[in-house]
Symmetry: C2
């Protein structure tokens, strides 16, 4: 019988880059950005095959626990781990690991990504789980489609069954290096999807970030269950010095591996990325409209409204978003700066 | 003692080109588009010097009579002529003429224009009134600042005291001809500002559009006063076949004259024209903002909001208007097509 994979769905993030639709109270994972389902619902659905996956664990802040519950709908045997405070990904993942059996294999999935090809995701999940069960710490290595300078890259090393050792972790490169990586074929994007054996992950955390491991253990030991929720003890968790799983473990372990995957992945990191992900909804001029929108002589325009009508004349390659009492108009270039706008940062 | 000029302020127009701010219920004249005062208030103010001007007559539709009254504020001895139906400028002007004494000189002023230089306006008004008192039918000939293809042009003929005969009326020219007109110096824009001796105007109307003249006379004879309002009889007025004063009289009379004037005139015919008229309010990058607006890396952007915040990133030379439940985004080119948008034409 094949191993069952324990999906660990992370619902963090402050939701400023897709402002004003994404807000702190209802960030990106909980919005139906692509298609009718939210990104969180898509993440659940991808891991819903009970042949392959155990019931999901969801790590979310208290502010979003009710949203998570509502979008899960009927119980699927899930657990919601309510983070007492945001402490980045390493403590969040370690909480889940500490609630699993040491030999359980966990698949860490951010919930703010869109993945077009579910079959490719599942195949990679199986390969990653196999490696994880042999005590590799496995990252999905996403086939880069363009020389993105906003992501970290993984350079593949020697071959492993179903994957590769990771030779190097590359921080966000400059444009020139990113172009070489895409052309060279040895680098993948680090998309934040990981497979671990729970016990091994905790051992590695103990080795590299002992204090964090101790505080996570204490949070779990002193935590309590309430129906489907697990509430870690607040005091020790809040005392953790937060860090990403990449810095805390992946870049330090001797057993970092990667599974290459090409699955139509997008982190929908800004409005331009969403427009690209919505390509299939566009009209013949490349426009995508949601809500009451009138376009005259426009091309490559993304216009979204939650109520007021948007009328656009003669524009090209811009994004217009009307949400609540906010109106955003940005170019593709400008989309990267949306999170820094007064409206986005002062929520 | 110099003649007193009777200002006749026309408040017609359907207000679609500056939609969504300008609406049928509150069109362009009644909006504070440039500065703090509405264009109608500016028109009143320009003709408020009692040394030079008699109390104003305002011609407006019933729909706007209360707005007119409210923006006039305290009575200044004005008369509001309430048009029973819109029949273009010739009948509107003739109504006012019929209520004046034959030797009164009237100055017809549209209320949807902005004039930056009031002194130049007054000087031209005096010159035009002088010519009108000698039975010339006088148009302001506005110094063209660019090869506009949306206006009619006046070609000057032989010299008159303070002005010229009009040699030719030119319909909206094509671009090439407009460029020649601007370069040549013999052509002016026909801005819709006229001076007439009231009796002469009615005589000319009688000669060229006898039926219109008769129906206007009948509307006035059977009309009635109510406080400051004059209500022409509806039945004869509605029966008029509407026409502009240009077609009905100016292009037919043998005594058409013009007074050249350079007074910072704009008809604010679309959003791009308003942006130009607001040039003095712009920041160093040429942006003009009204209401809650955040701009990042923008130039030559006009952003107006009546409530919701507008955030703009990386745009150049666009107009963004938020008004009521409508959001408009247009380029300079596109501004000419705003009146044809579903939102503007279906009010």
């Amino acid at each position: 019988m094949p191993i069952k994979i324990h999906p660990v769905i992370l619902c963090g993030g402050s939701g400023t880059r897709l402002w004003p639709v994404s807000r702190k109270d209802k960030p990106k994972p909980f919005l139906p950005l692509v298609g009718d389902r939210t990104l969180f619902e898509e993440a659940l659905e991808r891991a819903s095959d009970t042949e392959l996956f155990a019931p999901p664990m969801v790590v979310a802040g208290e502010r979003h626990a009710d949203l998570v519950e509502a979008q899960i709908g009927e119980s699927c045997g899930h657990t919601i781990i309510v983070e007492p405070a945001p402490r980045n990904t390493a403590p969040a993942i370690a909480l889940a690991a500490a609630l699993l059996e040491p030999d359980d294999v966990m698949l860490v999935c951010p919930s703010d990504h869109h993945i077009a090809d579910t079959d490719a995701f599942r195949a990679a999940a199986k390969a990653a789980a196999e490696l994880a069960s042999r005590d590799w710490l496995v990252s999905f290595g996403i086939a880069p489609t363009h020389p993105e300078t906003g992501y970290g890259y993984l350079k593949r090393g020697e071959s492993l069954p179903g994957g590769y050792r990771i030779d190097t972790f590359v921080e966000k490169p400059d444009r020139e290096r990113a172009e070489r990586y895409v052309a060279g074929g040895e680098h993948s994007w680090n998309g934040g999807i990981f497979a671990f054996r729970a016990g091994r992950l905790l051992d590695e955390l103990e080795a590299h970030r002992g204090e964090m491991a101790r505080l996570v253990r204490e949070s779990v030991a002193r935590g309590r269950r309430e129906d489907s929720r697990f509430l870690p003890a607040s005091a020790p968790f809040v005392a953790i010095e937060g860090d990403s799983i990449d810095y805390a473990v992946m870049e330090k372990t001797a057993r970092a591996a990667m599974v290459p995957v090409d699955m139509g992945w997008s982190d929908i990191g800004n409005w331009a990325a969403l427009k690209d992900a919505l390509g299939s909804e566009s009209d013949e001029a490349g426009n995508v409209a949601r809500g009451p929108v009138d376009l005259d002589g426009c091309s490559d325009v993304l216009a979204l409204s939650d109520g007021p009508r948007i009328s656009v004349v003669g524009l090209e390659d811009v994004v217009i978003v009307v949400s609540g009492e906010e109106v955003l108009v940005t170019t593709r270039e400008g989309a990267q700066r949306v999170g820094k706008l007064p409206g986005a940062s002062s929520q």
